[in-house]
């Protein structure tokens, strides 16, 4: 545990001493809950359509696959015309693309970023590394199966997959969303303990609350 997260005794301006426990006092401790869709089906369908047509990707490149995402913004591929755009903050993004290998250190950040996104949210694994470790299958420092740690909606294979493959993948994801099958966030909430156990198994210096709101 990092020093700044340890319990500490501080003295208030009135001279009274008290304890501050950063993990409890500075972070929300609530666990995620399953969030059902709208009660009326037609409304949920409308929302699913809107979600599918408005994929906001978190600008977070975890590995070498990130280089394949940049061309999507360029005139050649122009993903914007499919309702895809990039957001710099996880709060406003609803698609997390794990672009390539994921070291344990980055996994921690990816989990944080994922948890800070709002339900419904989607994870796409990009390239073989996210599927089975790829060429890093025996590395001491990268995870081998992304779906052990985050609810993956879709994998796009390749090492690396080309931008066209990404576009095709996004198209598939849209279909999933429109069909109401992309409920990764709820899945994550339902199997929260399982995911946490997996995450903590590889992240040995767990220095954050269980769920990063």
């Amino acid at each position: 545990m990092k020093e700044e997260l340890l319990k500490r005794t501080v003295k208030g301006p009135d001279g009274v001493e008290f304890e501050v426990e950063p993990l409890r006092d500075y972070y929300c401790e609530a666990a995620p809950t399953v969030m059902p869709g709208a009660y009326i089906k037609i409304v949920e369908d409308l929302f699913n359509w809107a979600r599918a047509e408005s994929l906001w990707i978190l600008g977070f490149g975890t590995g070498c696959g990130a280089i394949e995402m940049r061309p999507l913004m360029t005139p050649r591929f122009d993903a914007y015309r499919y309702g895809i755009q990039w957001r710099p903050t996880p709060r406003q993004a609803n698609l997390l693309v794990i672009s390539g290998y994921l070291s344990v250190k980055t996994l921690k950040r990816a989990i944080r970023a994922y948890e800070q996104m709002q339900n419904p949210k989607y994870v796409v694994g990009l390239g073989s590394c996210t599927i089975n470790g790829g060429m890093y299958w025996d590395s001491y420092n990268t995870i081998k199966r992304l779906d052990q740690y985050l609810p993956v909606d879709l994998y796009i294979t390749g090492c690396m997959p080309r931008p066209e493959a990404l576009l095709a993948g996004f198209d598939d994801l849209k279909n999933l969303i429109r069909a109401g099958q992309a409920e990764g966030a709820n899945q994550y909430a339902e199997n929260f303990d399982w995911y946490k156990a997996n995450q903590k198994q590889v992240i040995h210096d767990w220095d954050m609350p269980d769920y990063n709101w």
Binding site: E4, R8, V10, K11, G12, P13, D14, V16, F18, V20, P22, D25, Y26, Y27, C28, A30, M35, F60, T89, P90, R91, R109, A110, R112, A113, Q116, D207, M208, N212, W213
Partner: protein, 1045 residues
Amino acid sequence: MLSPLYLVAAALAASFTLGLLNPKRSGAAYAITLVTLAFMAWVPAGWLWGFMAEGAQPVEIYTAGALPPYAINLRMGLAEAAMTLLITLTGLLSALYLKESLIKLGHRGMAVLMVALMAFCGIVLTRDLFNLFVFFELAAISTAGLILLSEDERALSAGFKYLIVSQLVSTFLLIGILFAYHASGTLNLDTMASARLPHGSAPSFALAFFLMFIALVTELKPFPANGWALDIYESAHPAYSALFSAAAATASLYAVDKLLLVGGPGWYPMATGIGITTFLAANLFALPQGNDRRLLGYSSLAQIGLILVVLGQRDLLGEGTPFIAFGLLVSHAVAKAGLYWLSGLVGGRSLTDWAALRGRPLLVFAFISFVAMLTSLPPFPGFYAKWELVRVLAGEGRLALLALILIGALVEAGYLFRWFGYMLKREAPAEAVNGEPHQVVPVYVAVLAGWVLGYFWGELSGVGLGHHNLLLSLPLAFALGFLLLDWLPAWVKNTLAITGMVAFFFLTYAEYDPLRLIFALIFLIGGAITLLASYDAHGRRIGFYPAAMLMYAGMVMLVRANDSFEFFAAWELLTLGSYFLILRGKHSEPHALSYILFSLGGAFLILAGFALAAGGAAQFPITALGQVAPAVAPWVFLLLATGFMTKTAAIGLHIWLPGAHAEAETDVSPMVSGILLKAGLFGLFVLLMAMGKQRLYGVELTHVLLWVAAFTALLGNLMAVFQEDAKRLLAYSSIGQMGYALFGLALMNHLGWLMALMFVINHYIYKSMLFLSVGGVAKRTGTREMYRMGGLIRLMPLSFIAVLIGIIAISGVPPLSGFGGRWIFYNAILASDYRLPMVILFLAGPVAFLYLFRLIHSIFLGQLKDELRRVKEAPFWIALPQMLYVGLLLAFALAPGLALRRVDTYLNLFFPEGGLHWEGFEITSDYGYWNPVAIMIVVAVIFVSLFAWLLFVNRRAQKVKQFNIVFSAERPFRPETTHFAWNFFAPYRKALGFLVQPYATTFWGALTDFLHTAGDLARRLYDGNGQSYALHFLAFVVIVFGVGV
């Protein structure tokens, strides 16, 4: 009434009796001394009573049974009675004070003391020149004796130097008398005076007179022939110094006065010249002085110099001379004697050692009473004297002299108030003051005498000049009453104060015109609301209520003032009261000093302005400012406007404000900011209402004012942007806001004034509210630095609401009341003849957003710190007025007409054009329209609907904590490193920081440094060597001779 001769006889008889007494029985000798001195005081007291109450006539006492010039005669008149009473009383009290010392010295010492007093009285009483010489010799010898009897070893050399100088003086005097006798054939002063005309032209007489004059003047310790006196003041026992300063100086002054009678008006300029040089030089030298007694010595020299100036201005002052000279003299004598006595109670000789007095509130009160007497503040005699002196000097056009006097007085106030600051604020030495009753009583008697004399001079001024006795005015009396009630617990006094203020308002509200009513409301009712916060204080809070009520009394008197005298007196009172209030802050010593100096400087300008306007008239109604002669009118305008602008802290004169407002106590800041600043604006209102536009060298002064106001608004706001200290930020913001108000006034049209008034009201409400809120936060968090706070919104929601409402209002965003000010502002500038100054003001407007956002963000939003996690909401009594202000602000936002409509009509008197039309809730001007209620409703309806919609779609929102923020997939390290608050507007400083270089501070700092350095260099003249002192004396004689004759 006993014959004045008893004065001499009693002293001599008692001295001889003492000689007969067994030397071991010093107790008895002391008793005899006291009785004799009491008797000596009784004699003139009886006479004074006779003259004052029973209308007795002056008597001449002829010795040797012959009429002068054949015999010596003494005179007992009103002046003589007063002076001898002053001398003998000082003597009596000093003797009392000297109990141990005298008993130790034995009967010889007591005899010398009595002889000295007798000699002083003789100098006052005698009308014969040679007799005068004799008494002077007696005085010199006995004084030297007194000095030599002091315990300090340095006194020995000081006494010796004194003897050298006295011998020179005596020689000059004697030779002069010889020649004068030769020239006039008489030694009697009155005969000589009446014989002056035929002999006046004779060079021999002139030389003779010069010799006598120079000798007597030297007794007054003129610059530079006064080094010896300083050494005495510094080294002699303080009681002797008291005598020396009060009694001996009185006697010498009267001697000079008598001699001037002989010399005639031809010698007046010389007296004036010597006096003013001494006054200025002594005050300048006192500035860097660190030794208390030597400082008092310098101050004594200065005061005597000033009185000499008054004597020298006899040709102008005429009948009024005694009123002024005595006013200054008694102020000086009482205060200086009191201060010297006090200095005996203080262990250390450094000025800061006086902090030891702090444990004794009564002595502190004594000290400040003395300081106020010396600086001629109301209600002491010096105040009336100063007013009168300035009035006459200005009326007769002696402006250079007037300026010099005022400059000297300001310097004097500077070191005296600095000293007072040390006393209250510096670390107290370990040894406490333990004054024996016989040492303390004289001090208290002096204080009492000071106040009584103040009353007395008030009466005199009432009789002679038709002024109202200040001590009899209800508000001041009410304020001073708190001095007597200071033993009560604070909440009782607070209740009394609030009741008194509210009651006074309801008793008098019918008397104000609509404009004054607004100010009276703010001063009285507003003051009462602010005072609610003072319930939070515990204990007795000694000194707070007299000071606060003095300020409020001053403000009320200001609003009610009809003539310039009342106005100025009120101005000085409120300045003094607010100074005490500001000084109460923990670290406010330097800021309070700079406040009082700027305020007094401003007050002197106002004084000069009024005097110039009055042109010598004793009574000058404020409204008569409009009828001032065109030649002086712009100058009057300039003086008064600058004076008032020191109070509103216009740019350049603003440097006192931030410190003073920021360092003041929590409940004082809103008083001095929200309320006190309005006094300056009121002054400007009064000035502009009466004088209107003025041109000086073709430049329209209101146009200049407009530019000053615009830059004040801009730079005040800009400086606020870069503050880290929340209260300083608010203080700078006040400068900016005052700039706006001033701008409105200077627009010189109907709406401009209405806008100024709107700012007056708004600024009162929101600045009081913000200062209270920030003060409450500072109280709870123990810091004023904003970046140390953060995230307090949840812990202090009420304070947050107050600040939120406050900043919305200040920034002028609809629907709160600040918008009304902006709306009127736009309409006013459209009607104005000027355009370019608006550019500056337009820039100033959005700058306010910067500091306002910073204020609320850094304190209430952002990240909460570890230590502040358990902070509580501000105390109830600090929060309550804030909530009242919130209510007031909303009410004023909805219905500005409640306050403004009547004033709008009233302003038609001055500007018939361009008023507003009030119809229902809608307000229409010549250009546009505005409906505050409609705006409020529309905004509220939209806001509430959207809020309801958000609540519906967002009903499942998870409440998170402060570190649950996206941080580039990292997490915040600590709240301190996550709270973005310090140097919040760094890019702005890069872009416009050059505008807020502290030029004004540098200028004023350089000026004071220069004065200090000059004083420090020049006072090396006094090297403590008797020979150089003799040289100084000769140089003085030569210079005076060269210049004067």
